[in-house]
Symmetry: C2
Subunit: 365 residues, 2 copies
Amino acid sequence: MSETTIPAWQVPAPPERLERVSRLYTYAVVGATGAVGREVLAILAERGHPISHVRAIASERSAGSSMTYGDSEVPVASLTSDSFAGIDIAIFGASAEVAREYAPAAVRAGAIVIDNSSAFRMDPRVPLVIPEVNGKELDGTPSLIANPNCSTILLLVALDPLRRAFGLERIHVATYQAVSGAGLAAMEELREQTGAMLAGRDATPRVFKEPCAFNVFSHDSTVNEADGVNGEERKIIEESAKIWNERIPLTPTCIRVPVLRAHSQAVSVTLREPASVDEIREVLRAAPGLRVIDDRAANDFPTPRKATGGDQVLVGRIRHDPANPPDAFGRSRHLCLWLSGDQLRKGAALNAVQIAERVISRSSG
Amino acid sequence: MSETTIPAWQVPAPPERLERVSRLYTYAVVGATGAVGREVLAILAERGHPISHVRAIASERSAGSSMTYGDSEVPVASLTSDSFAGIDIAIFGASAEVAREYAPAAVRAGAIVIDNSSAFRMDPRVPLVIPEVNGKELDGTPSLIANPNCSTILLLVALDPLRRAFGLERIHVATYQAVSGAGLAAMEELREQTGAMLAGRDATPRVFKEPCAFNVFSHDSTVNEADGVNGEERKIIEESAKIWNERIPLTPTCIRVPVLRAHSQAVSVTLREPASVDEIREVLRAAPGLRVIDDRAANDFPTPRKATGGDQVLVGRIRHDPANPPDAFGRSRHLCLWLSGDQLRKGAALNAVQIAERVISRSSG
């Protein structure tokens, strides 16, 4: 049942929904058994959300199982258009198809929907939000909010402070993306295939077309035959322009690496105003959601291992572009850096939960 | 015994050495038990070199063992300054320290030395050669020839045809480097650590400071504390300038990935003259040492798996930079591409053997 023709998210959420005397909220997590859904449940529990009830929702085949939420188990219910009665906040960690079909029903039922899929990201009626970057878009308490693509989130959390401080003129980024972006089955495929290879056996790829064990490959999203840009690269370009409300020329290359759940990125930027490495480090150290790991002497920089399970985007290898060395004052407009961030947390579930927190804090503030 | 003060390689090799009536040559492979040395032996055998004798040489602790050469076993001799009597061509696949100590002795003994280490690469008296790019540097039959760094070789094999056809103005490259560049022990560390992780055990890094299983990390070479550029990045910059005899502004970021033996690179370039994707593909298809794998519809592009064991650098994802779309004629100066090449073969052993072949063919031509 497709209901995308009903623009329910054009009206703000009903104020009474977020102004309960108890300040306890009811949550639904759609796709609760998937890689992102599990992480949403874990993060809601660990951050101590003011929650009266969590409803875990998944497809028919998972119904009847249960998921861990804090110290308790919650039963998994099957997704229907009636799933959202009494729900204040629904976090969708499912496919774009599921979101297109069920998000309108959730909004009509009075929930504020935060959708992690690509379904509504480029819809001009729907805010696309990274709280650290454009959290103010939540001020109108929209009914439907889109969570950006994981690579977009990690890149913009790192670059937005530089954009604010020095201006940004040009971006090159090459990604080193974990398999978790393709879900739990992809993570299992990496483990299984790696074990098979170590045992000298072949393993047939299922989730990915290319073997993922001890291999890297161009991102598995569809490649546009006309211009050769793949879906993941297009998302970074288009979502960045929407979130920043400014189209900064951006050249992405998106690649999968045999890493379980944290993405990394090699980034080169041209600033509008020159800056020294110390000035850049200062700006990044003071920025929300970031941790600078940048010890040249110890060769200690961000890695996906260091980022896994954490809330922050790690940034390091902060240096002037050697092709454009700094001026006599140690400043240049040409900068390189390297970052890692947990794809399932800040790249997906955590960002969605932070959106929920900001919506709640606004309503109870 | 250091003999680097004797510039023996300034004199050309004695002509009689390469003008035997039999046209059969004697080879020495130094570091024969290492990752590169093994590959040199395999490649010499499979390419059917006109060889009368191969001497496998390694450090004291490997002496007495034997190595496979074609269908036979060759004993491993211990490296001394007397190791090179009667040798026509000595391929060094050992450390820079070993090369500095023993290459001069080999040259004095009358051998033509091809050294895979960094010891002599930037020495202005020593040619640094990728046969497809600057093979003409071998015309004077130098006594000592340096083999470039693996990342430099792969990048320049792919970019040199574009430089010749359209001119090159600017290069960005992010590498995805296999562990093989750090030797057999690193390959073993990746296998062991991966197995341990899959079994739920921890494994202490030995070769690399960072864990390499299911992880990526900034290249393990020393980082210059003043400018933040690491040794691998510096090699790409400096070696490219020497090989091309032209300093094209180049911005590298070098990263290790959990891949056994083939490197990949995400490359963005600015050409001097605009070109269409078809024109670029044609140039690359016609170029030596390259194979174009670029099927957008099938999402079929180079991977380290496809490159492993092969002689060619694989290149694909050939596209205009989306930040600089093409003109009305489908041409632009801004191009992206993606490549993979076997680090142990074209990145090291094969390039050295190709240098030997070119030296031999000149002398017998």
